[in-house]
């Protein structure tokens, strides 16, 4: 997908001043956090299961080639086909080849990988009609926007905005009445999409897991759209990335215990669906063709390097929900597919640090993302590592590097450090004077723009320490 990650600062600034967005984010705030907290509190075994889940993923990643081959073999045995794609372009090409040349009606269940590879645009360019069927994805498709959250794609939209969109877009179906209540909005979408479900040629879903033991792809949903998407059309295509594979049904069970609780605070999502091959000879429904497109897109390089842990991510969205920066600016400001803490790690790895250098800095290092991550991914550490790399590769501002260098020189010379800090304390203390704070300081205007800098009071800590001893 084309992004706007280099515009992060401008977009974040605009988001902070966008009253409608702020209203939508205020409504979402807390809901996810409280529900997750209660769900975790009701499961005394949570910490043990979390450790178990990490071990499962680590085992799988350490033998990733083995489990991918086992998965592939099982899909073939059940009559399905597997397609491999190194890059986003290869993945789109594989899907287009499956769909064929004639223009088709394509339905989509929610898939973040399909966003990552820019699949909708590729299919539309090839002349196919694409309809997103997850309500949130449908809303943002009507609005021509990308998702702003990995599990709640339309979290940035208010109900009023959805009402307006539906009125403008559903008139062509003869639905002219303005729907304002949540129930009516949901019913209208159900009515419009139902006719599309019954007439589509191809259904595309993502996968939360690929199970090597059985060759099954698994989706975790609440609406049931992903199921209608895959059982009604003739062809079911699954887009998934290489790290989704896990060994067995029992391993999936462990991960399911964490996924819904961490995402929505449910013990179990309404529908967890395992799809294995096309319909059997005596089945009365289901797709006649089953294809799995497995995408690498840079992940095989992350294996074993300092960002390896990120491959454990199960896309629950808990890190977004607990991030104060995400909560303040929403997902679009980040400028690419994956927002929030997990996105600030993944995006630079996928599109290049030089194209996303603000993202690792859009973080207060408060650590909440790492604390709530069900897969124990050290997100703050990885963001720090990315900052370090920016510094090394001279992607950070020259002035910031200069300041850090000066500080480094000072910090490695304790004597000099004490003299300089004592001097600074005295000078700033006396200039700060009675106000006790600075409203602005040269070289620190970025910091003082939003808050005052307290003026140092009394002597330095080291001097006071020496006096007391």
């Amino acid at each position: 997908m084309q992004g706007s990650t280099t515009e992060f600062k401008r977009q974040a600034e605009a988001a902070l001043h966008d009253a409608t967005l702020q209203r939508a984010m205020a409504k979402a705030k807390g809901g996810f956090v409280d529900k997750r907290r209660l769900a975790v509190a009701r499961l005394p075994e949570f910490a043990q299961i979390r450790a178990e889940a990490k071990a499962i993923k680590e085992h799988t990643l350490a033998h990733l080639d083995y489990y991918l081959e086992q998965f592939e073999r099982k899909v073939l045995e059940s009559g399905g086909r597997v397609h491999w794609a190194r890059t986003a372009d290869e993945a789109c090409a594989a899907v287009l080849a499956i769909i064929g040349a004639a223009s088709k009606q394509v339905l989509k269940g929610k898939s973040m990988v399909s966003e990552e590879i820019g699949l909708n645009a590729a299919m539309e360019r090839a002349g196919h009609t694409v309809v997103e069927t997850d309500l949130g994805e449908y809303i943002i498709q009507l609005a021509h926007e990308p998702p702003s959250h990995i599990i709640a794609p339309a979290v940035h939209k208010t109900r009023d905005q959805i009402t307006d969109l539906f009125q403008a877009e559903h008139e062509k179906y003869g639905l002219t009445e303005r729907v304002t209540e949540t129930e009516d909005i949901v019913n209208e979408a159900r009515q419009v999409l139902r006719t599309k479900f019954l007439s589509a040629d191809v259904g595309i879903t993502g996968a939360n897991f690929l199970i090597a033991e059985t060759g099954s792809t698994v989706i975790v949903t609440n609406e049931g759209n992903g199921d209608l998407t895959q059982i009604l059309p003739r062809t079911h295509i699954v887009t998934a990335s290489i790290e989704k594979v896990i060994p067995s049904l029992d391993d999936m069970t462990v991960l399911l215990r964490l996924l819904a609780r961490s995402a929505t605070g449910q013990e179990m999502s309404s529908y967890n669906t395992l799809s294995t091959g096309p319909r059997r000879a005596d089945d009365l429904d289901g797709p006649e063709e089953f294809h799995v497109v497995i995408v690498d897109n840079g992940r095989s390089d992350m294996l074993g390097n300092e960002f390896h842990d990120m491959l454990r991510c199960i896309r629950c969205g808990a890190c977004l929900n607990h991030c104060p920066v995400y909560g303040a600016i929403g997902g679009h400001a980040y400028g690419w597919v994956y927002p929030g803490p997990m996105g600030s790690v993944l995006t630079p790895l996928m599109i290049g640090l030089e194209n996303a250098r603000d993202l690792p800095n859009a973080c207060t290092l408060n650590g909440r993302c790492g604390e709530v991550c069900p897969m124990s991914i050290p997100l703050p550490d990885m963001l720090r590592t990315l900052r370090f790399k920016e510094h090394e590769r001279k992607l950070s501002k020259a002035r910031a590097r200069g300041a850090l260098k000066a500080w480094g020189l000072l910090a490695r010379r304790p004597r000099l450090y004490q003299v300089v800090t004592a001097l600074m304390t005295a000078v700033l203390g006396s200039i700060g004077g009675r106000a006790g704070r600075f409203r602005s300081l040269p070289l620190a205007s970025g910091w003082t723009q939003a808050r005052d800098l307290p003026a140092p009071q009394g002597a330095t800590f080291q001097r006071m320490w020496r006096r007391r001893r």
């Binding site: 979402a28 499962i56 083995y66 991918l68 339309a154 089945d283 390089d301």
Partner: protein, 214 residues
């Protein structure tokens, strides 16, 4: 096979510092699924299952014989003011039922105009109130998603404590993986409009479970 496949596997093995495929399956805990940490149940599995179905916004009837399914269904239709037009699975738990002659019953996959579906679950999971539905000639998957009202019959003997137990049952009694396994917990729902939960998004608006305690 394809160049893409070869290169992906080469890259993975390079990152894992290995140059050849593994000959034997690596030792893993999943060969001993009994080692999974399982959430402790507060009550016996059947009671727990029923509580959890309710918690997921489903409803439950307990009956003592298969033949009572008809009465339970009739009561359900009456409660919700529904016409007796059903699409039913040809599963053994359902196909022998003597439906009233005036009801419109058809067996097979659900169509767009079907409003009430009656299917049978392979198992019920107490831990989360989840129904395990296996696709097949006697249980089409469309029954689970197209109708507004989804009625599911399950034998109390098939209620297990944890999902791992359902997988064990499945491995013991089903020869091949069915095309679709649906784990269903409550009716369809969405929170995509301002995070407010609304039932009946695309799938069933209501889920009713009939437990046969024989």
């Amino acid at each position: 096979m394809s160049a893409a496949r070869d290169e992906i596997f080469t890259r993975i093995r390079r990152s894992l510092r290995r140059d050849a495929p593994l000959a034997a399956p690596p030792a893993h805990r999943s060969q001993a699924p009994e080692s999974n940490v399982r959430p402790r149940l507060e009550k016996d599995p059947l009671e727990c299952f029923i509580d959890k179905v309710h918690a997921a916004a489903g409803t439950v009837d307990r009956i003592s014989a298969i033949s009572d399914v008809v009465q339970a269904t009739s009561d359900y239709l009456h409660r919700h003011g529904l016409e007796p037009r059903l699409v039913v699975a040809s599963h053994p738990l359902i196909s022998e039922l003597a439906w009233p002659a005036e009801w419109k019953i058809h067996a097979g996959p659900a169509r767009g105009e079907d409003h009430i579906g009656v299917g049978a679950a392979f198992a019920g999971v107490a831990e989360t109130g989840t129904l395990v539905m296996l696709s097949g000639a006697d249980n089409p998957t469309t029954l689970n998603f197209l109708p507004d009202d989804h009625i599911v019959v399950v034998s109390a003997l098939q209620i297990v404590a944890h999902l791992e137990d359902a997988w064990r049952l499945m491995r013991d009694s089903v020869t091949a993986m069915p095309r679709t396994v649906n784990l269903i917990t409550g009716p369809s729902r969405t929170a995509d409009v301002e995070q407010t939960i609304q039932l009946g998004a695309h799938g069933p608006r209501r889920l009713h479970v009939i437990v046969i305690e024989d």
